[in-house]
């Protein structure tokens, strides 16, 4: 398994953990609390801190065990795979944004118990998870 592949897999796991934590916090809130700007910004800040801290620790550990490859730039095949994965990720994000706008237009009749702001954050995290998963899979497949 290459260094890039390991790092993508671990990044995917970290983003998944952050996504589940975020979803748990959002789903435990009442609809009124979800619309509260202070609570939402606090949640976003904790999400950013969690992600950055875990990514830094992950990269330090990974680089310590793979010192030879840690500073190596991506080669042309890895770059083309990253582009393909990014396009999948952006496609998921587009669908998510359209879905959020649709749910905003329909309003409270729409069954999803999550406010549009949180829906957008969840979709962004989900698209990132899927993008990283696709990249790891394409790197594995060759």
């Amino acid at each position: 398994m290459s260094y890039t592949q390991k790092s993508r897999l671990l990044e995917m796991v970290i983003t998944l953990i952050v996504l589940f934590n975020y979803m748990q916090s959002v789903l435990s809130m009442t609809p009124q609390a979800q619309m509260d700007v202070t609570l939402a910004s606090g949640l976003l800040i904790s999400l950013a801190i969690q992600t950055v801290a875990m990514l830094i620790v992950m990269h330090i550990i990974l680089a310590a065990f793979n010192a030879k490859y840690a500073n190596q730039a991506k080669d042309e095949r890895e770059q083309s795979i990253a582009l393909k994965a990014k396009s999948v990720s952006l496609y998921i994000l587009q669908i998510g944004v359209v879905h959020t706008v649709f749910s905003m237009l329909i309003g409270p009749q729409y069954g999803l118990p999550i406010s549009p702001l949180h829906q957008l954050v969840i979709v962004a995290l989900l698209s990132d998870v899927i993008g990283k998963g696709v990249e790891a899979w394409l790197l594995y497949r060759g």
Binding site: S2, T4, Q5, D75, E76, R77, E78, L139, R141, G142
Partner: protein
Amino acid sequence: MAKLPITNTIRALRFEHGEMTQQQLAEIVGVTRQTIAAIEAARYSPSLEVAFKIAIVFGQPLEKIFQYNR
């Protein structure tokens, strides 16, 4: 994954050059070992730059290493 129409003789050339490993070739060319493995298995077509670098390593013209099968 489907094989590409460009095949190559890198595997044979590596063995002719003192049983060079994929890792050694990758380090000379400046790509990862996985990329060399993918090129050898005809799952990835390298850029012209990488193809020329491989040709220089083996001291062969490009068309002796890479073949286009229609």
